[in-house]
Symmetry: D2
Subunit: 344 residues, 4 copies
């Protein structure tokens, strides 16, 4: 059985395991104040060309999103996101549990536009009853989105401009950031991302690490007391160096980018395997998630050899499915997939 | 520099690193539904003689405490704990952040007694204004406590009896559970713990793991929908198998107990190193935390070679300090400490 | 200037003012434990034919909704409501502030159907990732709705049946309950309402009182400790008797119904005033809120003499407006309105 | 039976009832934007000599405290108060329900001192683990306190100075403010109060109104978006004018002060009634709450004719009780009390 159901199926890139083993008996102080976190911070700031930013390491994505969003918002404020946004649908109400409404906007491709953000903001302030409503104060986007799509540099710039204009904070969920930046159609670099938002995180869990996300806070006004928030939300790892060691490894010699490219190449091959037979796709994804539309009978056959997610029903006979590649995808598994699809 | 400032200074027991490396490229599904978590669950249930219990793996202690306590309490209810309880002083208000008051009771040795729990409960219900007050509904104790002290079997039984009688839930924070069970004065076993509370956790972070706590829910009424709570509080690790692998290793061949005994033996030696010179101690700790009282000048000298925490001021000239041993404490470090103390 | 912009423009029905004056210097104990609250409770239970219910008096609607919903839900659960539901749009995120997601369903007429509730429930439980999503556990409907529409007895019965079947709690916001029950098309009585939900409130603020809502808890499992919740959410009025006195007056000799009928008759006249000239309406409201669609130029003219709310844009030239009648609407104001509309 | 158990036993001062009756059929817009609220605001600003302040009207004390405190604090921050503070013991955990710890300091007379506030602040910031603890950011005091005691002008000035120095917000709960300002020993005026804190409220519920508290925000940085907070916490009364009308009446011709003086004179007489017989008192109260210490047998006898609260046990034979006077206390009731005490 070859698995394509997610991008967190394996452990970590072997270099990370090696580094964890080598440093295992070092004694360091806890909670992210050790030399490994310090060095990882330095490398990330360099990679982002953001020397003034603050970098924090957290364990997982839901935790990172919840910590940032609840730190930014005041009690009467909410966060705008696409209907399909992870915080709106797949975090068990973590944002609401901290007291804030998620203001979900319709979106067909998983993306928000500067225009619909502006409209949401204006429709709040133009409503004479706005004090009876949740005030939009922050925008959450994912790069890439949950549908595998990407923002272009001009789209992101416009969104950031609107946020600045409206006094709203822009936060980017980068769970799969590496896979977005390595995609063919991407015209954004890591420094661009850092320059075009108030805070974002560089996903480790899905991009080579055992676990861990590196939060980069670009906006000075969000930096104060941030470690309190991390501690309160349960994200301050006692042996914080584990996060430092992983991101040190990922950002030492371009490893993060290198393994992202591998995942994208694997995804391109997945795309071709299905395109060869005229298959349609749910979205125009250039990243590591591919959503081919298959007949239900074909899905059933493939499931005997491969694991993948059935994403949504298209009609009575067809459904969209999701195949994920990752830093760890093997040629062997892709060969097997190609053979199986050819035989359908 | 030898470090004694905490019990989370190193990585993990080498067998855990080995197992992580061996399993690294296995493909498993996420969120704790993999075979390693399954096996670890089985081993823990056996070790606890609690076949009917539910076992969940979470990343850290603050997260585990917050998840359990907020899952148990209704909005108007609070949790009783000792003034020195970790949730009361060292979790940045994580419990309050979920909406609940911590009802702190005075305690000189870090322990609660059945009697003061009962009094707290009765003083609530006997107050004609109790509807204007936070209702005590849960009791939080640590085993061992933050002061290194232990509950005896009869003390814990009485507390559990009072909780049952009053309809309150008893929850045990076992961040250092192994070190408590391995202590000389301890007359409790793991199955005793499981039989004498509603839920508890077996600490991994401080006892041999890289990170991770195994929550054991003994009371049926607390089991329902628990994975939602873990997800919402950010504790559902994507690569859940990392927790499974670690606890599998710790509970495979008695490793958890074995390494706990090592820490206790090291702590006994620390105790002797100071006792030899007539030193007093802040508390009667038989566990891995020792609190000798030293002259401030002595503390300063020792700090040039060793790291340890200054715990509290005793008088103008003296302070209590904390030396922690752990599964990783080396003879070399203890020899050095002995020599330094002899030379004071 | 005659005002039609809401149903809380005046003070209270004169009999209430009279009763407040008469009882003013009585000494009673506080927090709703006085003889007036007792008597009002008795009268309401009789009117509802719900002798086993619990009745609580709260100050306002947002407070009542928040108190009930946060008392019912556990941390991972959310409340289903129509997109237009008051808790979703006009309570400044009060529900989310207690930690819970509002699960808003599309609705063109402000109503939910048993079918869309069932679908929402099933789509949660059929999703393999449901533990990563907010669990629907409660249904909020308004009677009448924010659009002035009403549920029929069979519609409400079906909704309640689905809720029972799915183990979800049904709660009815009755801010304008009197005006719903008095409407021509209504085939539900107060005892029907009490029999077909778990909890509901009888609105006083908009139906003759200075302020105050009477919460009726029909489901035994929701009764326990309820006064703690009211106190915690700031709803336990010190001089609780003020609420008792008002509801005593409203339910003494059928006053609540009588004044509701007056409001409905006034609304019918408003309807006719506009229908006479072929005016369309936004919704089929038979209650005290009427939503005629007018030309923008007509709206402007009317606003010089009358106050009313502009509800929503229909097209470039037309908008829907809202005219509210109430227990206090005068013939004089209706005559003036008729004249002005005739002159448009 | 004459009641002395609280200061909210009767309705409102007759002038308020009169004004409510007179204005009853006026039509005004809702939510506190009407001319009565406007006028009440003007009168209060004048009385406080605080033309730049913001005034908001809320229904009750718990609600006001919760709204202010949750509006001020960020998620990791807590509010310092005396152990006996109302928010710590008698609001059913309302503050914690909004996510914040109440940092209770020991106090024998219900008061905080500048010194213990400073110590609390410093002990936080001097602790190397302060990021693991709740950050003190606000100070809550009551004037008068729950024990009837008062701050002198110099004490309050010192507290405010320390708060400013430490960047903490000072908030005064003035549920019984009138009774404090009218007390013989008080050297503070309303303008002094307004000048020596960041926000405070002028209690109406206990001082002549049916209900209602007037929040005065003196510190500019706390003003923004405040009406959202009030709405979200359920405190934005639909018929807001009811609050406006009451405070208009109370502040029109010095009525608030006049009725406070009446209550203080009544309290002095209560004091004398007990002092005459050599009775001791629990606290040095010069306000409307008196705490004589009586034999339990005496208490029992008095309870047959009077209602009052048994406050706390002093020893096996004696308890402290609480007698409250108010604007409504009658000479008749005081004569009866005197006679009864003389006969003990």
């Amino acid at each position: 059985m070859f698995r394509f159901d997610s991008d967190y199926l394996e452990g970590a890139h072997p270099l990370i395991i090696k580094k964890l083993a080598e440093t295992n008996l070092e004694q360091t102080i806890g909670y992210g104040c050790d030399p490994h976190c310090e060095r990882a911070t330095k490398l990330i700031k360099e990679a982002c060309k953001a020397p003034e930013s603050d970098v924090h390491f957290l364990v997982g994505g839901t935790q990172t999103n919840t910590t940032v969003i609840s730190a930014v918002l005041r009690p009467h404020q909410g966060v705008i996101c696409a209907e399909t946004g992870h915080i709106n649908v797949h975090e068990s109400g973590a944002i609401e549990a901290t007291g804030h409404k998620v203001l979900a906007l319709p979106s067909s491709d998983g993306k928000l536009t500067a225009e619909n953000i502006k409209n949401c903001y204006e429709s709040h302030w133009n409503d004479p009853n706005h004090e009876h409503m949740v005030q939009p104060a922050m925008v959450y986007i994912s790069f890439p989105t949950e549908k595998g799509t990407l923002y272009s540099k001009s789209e992101l710039s416009e969104i950031f401009y609107v946020c600045r204009e409206c006094g709203m904070i822009l936060y980017i969920d980068g769970a799969r950031l590496g896979y977005g930046l390595a995609a063919d159609g991407c015209d954004l670099s890591l420094p661009d991302i850092a320059a075009l938002c108030d805070a974002f995180y560089i996903g480790g869990t899905k991009v080579g690490a055992l676990f861990g996300e590196a939060l980069v806070i670009c906006n000075n006004s969000l930096k104060k007391d941030f470690r309190y928030f991390i501690k309160q939300k349960g994200g301050l790892l006692a042996k914080g160096r584990l996060l430092g060691i992983q991101f040190e490894t990922l950002f030492e010699d371009g490893l993060y980018n290198e393994i992202s490219v591998h995942a994208i190449n694997s995804a391109k091959r997945i795309k071709k395997i299905f395109e060869k037979h005229g298959c349609r796709f749910l979205s125009e994804s250039e990243t590591n998630q591919q959503f081919p539309i298959l007949k239900n009978s074909e899905i059933e056959k493939l499931l005997s050899e491969f694991s993948f997610e059935t994403w949504c029903e298209i009609n009575e006979d067809e459904s969209a499915v999701r195949f994920c590649s990752s830093w760890a995808t093997t040629d062997e598994s892709l060969d097997a997939l190609e053979k199986a699809v050819d035989n359908l």
